[in-house]
Symmetry: C2
Subunit: 347 residues, 2 copies
Amino acid sequence: MAREKIERTRTLRLQDVAEAAGVSLATASRSLSGTSGVSEAVADRVRATARELGYVANLHARSLAAGTSASVGLVVHEIGDPYFSEIASGVLRVAAPAGLTVQICHSGRDPERELEQIRMLIANRVGAIVVAGSGFVDAAVQSTARAELQAYRQNGGRVAVIGRHHLGVDAVLPDNVAGGRAVTEHLLSLGHRRIAVISGSRALTTVADRLRGVADGLAGAGLDPDSVPVVEAEFTRAGGKAAVLETLASHPGVTAVLALNDDMAIGALSMLRSQGIAVPGRISVSGFDDVAVAGDLSPSLTTVRLPMVEMGEKVLQLALSDPTDRPRRRRVGHELVVRDSTAAPSA
Amino acid sequence: MAREKIERTRTLRLQDVAEAAGVSLATASRSLSGTSGVSEAVADRVRATARELGYVANLHARSLAAGTSASVGLVVHEIGDPYFSEIASGVLRVAAPAGLTVQICHSGRDPERELEQIRMLIANRVGAIVVAGSGFVDAAVQSTARAELQAYRQNGGRVAVIGRHHLGVDAVLPDNVAGGRAVTEHLLSLGHRRIAVISGSRALTTVADRLRGVADGLAGAGLDPDSVPVVEAEFTRAGGKAAVLETLASHPGVTAVLALNDDMAIGALSMLRSQGIAVPGRISVSGFDDVAVAGDLSPSLTTVRLPMVEMGEKVLQLALSDPTDRPRRRRVGHELVVRDSTAAPSA
DNA sequence: ATGAAAGCGCTAACAG
DNA sequence: CTGTTAGCGCTTTCAT
């Protein structure tokens, strides 16, 4: 990884402000950082001078000297994905009023790359790290990351994640199992019996948990979970298109497609439309997440709402709150949102 | 603005690595930063020790000592908005391979807040600042920002923006005028004569430019631009809903609604559907931007495609490239994407 | 209430 | 090729 260095030349230092205001460096520092021990008059004068001169403090120097950090790191799969951009929005909403800057980086759902990004954030001495991407079912793939994050925490760093990870840290847990069950029961109650699931990689805990909910729903209705085909593809719009095509070919009798996220559902909807297959007339489609556009599609998408913005807010609050001995879990609910893409099977 | 400080305790320093490897601080530094002047053997040993010990360099210290920066700032209106999240994705794709971290912050389309964020980024000593939000027609509202950014550049900082700003810096310019003209001509060629524009605030250069393109298109067809009503609302989905309602009330004969971004178009589509008005049967609707979902709506949205991811990539490349005396402009094209939401008027 | 001075962890001359 | 040393700009004891 090439490291691009951007050189900076000299700017105003606190020393310059101090001289201009006729005080010592220490007094100037106290005045600007609001530490007590300076007369109001002097402090005001210093602040005025600083403003006139257009002084801006060097946060690197401040961090180094004070040993504090005013920034947090956020690891997402891909910021262009609405699920993650809504989470990021929540994180930013909590960070800004607290005077914290947010460094965002991509993991690309690749544990190696995620580790690399985490290391970079640690090197940047961020005060907290938030991991928003899905966890992995296989605990081993994140074991190095786990170790590094633990060490980071030993040194005062804060960590919190969204979803089920094997990282041993505070977590915000979306209700994936119950959501999967709810949407399954919805399809079942409509009368569907020939359902196909289109899904992202089962290596992701998000997928595993949602699948587990689907199985629960099926079992609860006395059905054999194994009788329902699960077509695995990329956890994206393109993956949804591919998966629904495959489903059509291998299971032509299917009356409902249960997508494990909205992205795949949107892809499925688009593919079905281009194939001239009516939704929900011939096939019902459901999603998961309730991204902002879900309600504006046509047919509008029946899905499981997860409060992404709130999850982003909560996860940073969790990271910033006083650390506890044992990892905390904050569950956030789900809500089945029934719209127009699901209906009773026609036959 | 409260400043939340996160305290850190002692971690491994380069000095510790140097001692463990039995070399001096300087040699250790050279070994790890890849500076020449160290024998390969020694450098390897130092790197090995560093890895064993789990050493991660303190980037604040490095920045302070070397006067370089390995991070860039990105100012967006709102990261949850697909237009900006796609741009952010492009920025991240260029930043990561260059070893740069990206700090993202919200401007909320508020010049005051934008200025605040820019100041924070400067204080953070980012090597480059990218402003992705729209500019403002009134040059005065950004004059302070302009001055601070110029000073920042004097000190070696790099700046680039997306869109037409009065900031005197390098810019990536989307083809808003031509795009506005293209979509207008499309509607006109379909036979529409009673068109209404739904628009965000005219204070934004993005809006002003697109409006200008619309007027050009109208004039080119021998029509009076002033005869076309422009309904101004928030530049969001909710704004689109409100604006289309207002249009319906004040101009009931309208056969086409030209929205100045996809967000408003999506809101309009949604409102028209809930009002039982057929699109494009009774009213055609067009958007602008071509966000990822535009093609998956139903009816799929006719819109003007702007290459957001590419714009994000380009703007950071521009910022990172060697500075020139005069601001550079990189134009990016547009593409009219005709889909199902527009058709010839029925009457 | 104010000032002097000692670092924070690292890089970059400058010696050798 | 390697080590010594002086800062980078700021905060923070410790004196006064």
